[in-house]
């Protein structure tokens, strides 16, 4: 494998993991747009996606597709619970924003610990969607799970775009994100939209987890690093811009892969955080411009 092949191979790895960061980043944006809250429980939703699918397959002998759909529903329900039990009481009392953000961080820890108690602490994995050898293109391996991740992510981004632009619920959510008070005066149930934002965000996280787990492992405590990467992706893309977050995720994945390739794994996070600082200094509104 010459240097060019190595670079191409690393680019594929970077784009693949970047798509996952992007999906997590979109989850951040959806909730932020509806409420202004940065939901740090987003990593727990990613973990739940893979973990619940695993449990449904192994303990309940469900087919893979049914288990994955079940995991998305369960995680969506957990998202609703986080909103109703953690965020809503604080929201109703007009708690400061940082209190609500801290509360989501606490929710992340609670979800992790409950998973630890209910399942265990052993690493789990899921089979690849297509158990086929990778496609070899001139010495560069393109594995099918990466293709699933990339194609799945693009489809989700397109579907999400259509949802926000063409459906009544999507338009209502956008209206709330632009001006919650005006939306309420127009008869849009703002609190319901907030719940829906958490459900949607949790489902996106679960999808990212389901796509990702066949390439690595899931465990009760694997969510936080993903939440951090998704958060960085959302900032790079312009906080509140779903498409920006997706592009930001890919940029982050690529820069991490190139840092490992060129400088060594020790520089992976240095590169990621340098990119974040660069955007904060030079273009704080992100790639596509922040919504606020």
């Amino acid at each position: 494998m010459d240097n060019m092949h190595l670079v191409l191979q690393s680019l594929i790895s970077g784009i693949s993991i970047g798509c996952v960061y992007g999906l997590i980043g979109i989850g951040f944006c959806v909730i932020y747009n509806a409420s202004g809250i940065v939901n740090f429980a987003q990593g727990a939703f990613v973990m739940l996606g893979g973990m619940v699918t695993y449990v449904l397959i192994e303990r309940f002998q469900m087919p893979y597709v049914v288990a994955a759909l079940g995991a998305i529903v369960v995680t969506g329900f957990v998202g609703a619970c986080v909103e109703r039990l953690v965020v809503r009481p604080l929201w109703n009392r007009s708690a400061p924003m940082f209190v609500m953000i801290l509360a989501t961080l606490a929710a992340q820890i609670v979800i992790e610990r409950l998973t630890y108690i209910l399942v265990d602490d052993q690493p789990k994995t899921l089979p690849a969607f297509s158990d086929l050898p990778p496609i070899m293109l001139g010495g560069v391996a393109i594995n099918f799970q990466s293709l699933w991740i990339m194609a799945g992510s693009v489809l989700i981004v397109v579907a999400l775009g259509l949802f926000f632009k063409t459906t009544r619920t999507g338009k209502a959510m956008r209206a709330v994100s632009i001006n919650a008070e005006a939306a309420a005066l127009q008869g849009i149930p703002v609190s319901l939209m907030l719940t829906l934002a958490f459900v949607l965000s949790a489902m996106l996280g679960a999808l990212a987890g389901i796509l990702l787990t066949p390439t690595q492992y899931t465990a009760f405590n694997m969510g936080v690093p993903f939440a951090i990467s998704g958060f960085i992706a959302a900032i790079i893309g312009g906080f509140g811009r779903p498409l920006g977050a997706f592009l930001g995720g890919i940029a982050l994945g690529l820069i991490q892969a190139m840092a490992i390739l060129g400088l060594g794994a020790g520089f992976k996070n240095v590169a990621a955080l340098s990119l974040l600082l660069l955007f904060l200094f030079v273009r704080p509104s992100g790639l596509l411009g922040s919504t606020r």
């Binding site: 790895s13 602490d121 690493p123 391996a141 390439t215 390739l261 794994a265 020790g266 992976k268």
Partner: protein, 379 residues
Amino acid sequence: MFHMRNQFFAGMVSVLAMAGAAQAEDIYKIGISAGLTGYAATVDRAWSDGVQTAVDVLNAKGGIMGRKLEVVVEDNRSNPQEAVTVYRKMVSSDGVNIFSSGCVSAGNAAAAPMVAKSEIPMILCSILPKQERDVVWAFTTLPPAGFEIEKRFEYLRDKTQIRKVGVLHDPTPYALLQKDVAEKVAEKFGIEVVAVEAYKQDDADLSVQLSKMQAAGAGAVMKIGLGGTTLTAAKNLKQLGSDMLLLTSLEDLAVFKPVAEVLGDKFFFVASPSQVFEAYPDGPLKQAIGQFLQPWREKFGDRDPNWASRGWDSIMLTAAAIEKGQSFEGPAVRENLEKITGFQGTTGTYDFAPDKHQGISTNPFVVAQIIDGQVRIAQ
């Protein structure tokens, strides 16, 4: 009358307090700082359970010299800073008499000066602290770092045509130590280390590191480090369509089973004698493992016995040191641990000395595989 009754109650209180103090004095407390959660959870939980099994067995026989044992275990969350906190708590609040701590080496090293100052001996699962003054109070059940590396090189040299390897390691002190050994001794086995790559325990993707090793011509990956990343490495190797073998360090078998499902006969790992007990040749070592495995299996079935067996050893070494010196005092136990030689443990024979606090000196490991769900010594 009132005065007499007061005197009676005061007397009763004193008697009860003295009885309580005597009872507390009678209990010999063993503190464990363990990563019950986090990357070291699998091994440290096994270590703690091994310690508890040994304590239960000794207590059933009346304890050590008639004194019962009690385990105090604190979760350091596989985090060195957290480890210092839990050590401090166990020294100041729980009043532990000896530490039998888990495999979070950086945590044990960070707490070692404080523990040494308190004159409490430590018998560890991890490597010894680096500072000479801290080693005075610390002993380890861990075989030297080179053993795991040498066994893998030996296997590659004797059983394969592979002469170039990549080393993939995490940033823990033990992994770094092993990495240094690998670079140093490879030549002795006619093997060249063509790439050394690091990773973090929470990395989601190792394919760039693995691609670099493949590009450098490595025929095998020597992975050094614990946790689920072994599974990530296996998955990434398969996704890359790589023919490289994966040889990993000692780890809980529960982690290895899904790895073997992914890589099949391309996956090898260093195993301790207790992990391949049935296939291990008869002798004093097998006998010692058998003594541990009986209560272990009664309680935990076919759960991986490796780390637990070393936890068991730590308690048996403690008992031997106390009985040797006929004293429970920290300095005496420490001194008598140094005098233990020829002690048959479950991982090998322990020979301690004042300048040798790492007791195992002969390599007990084998290279193993999981074929059809069964652990076998690799042929």
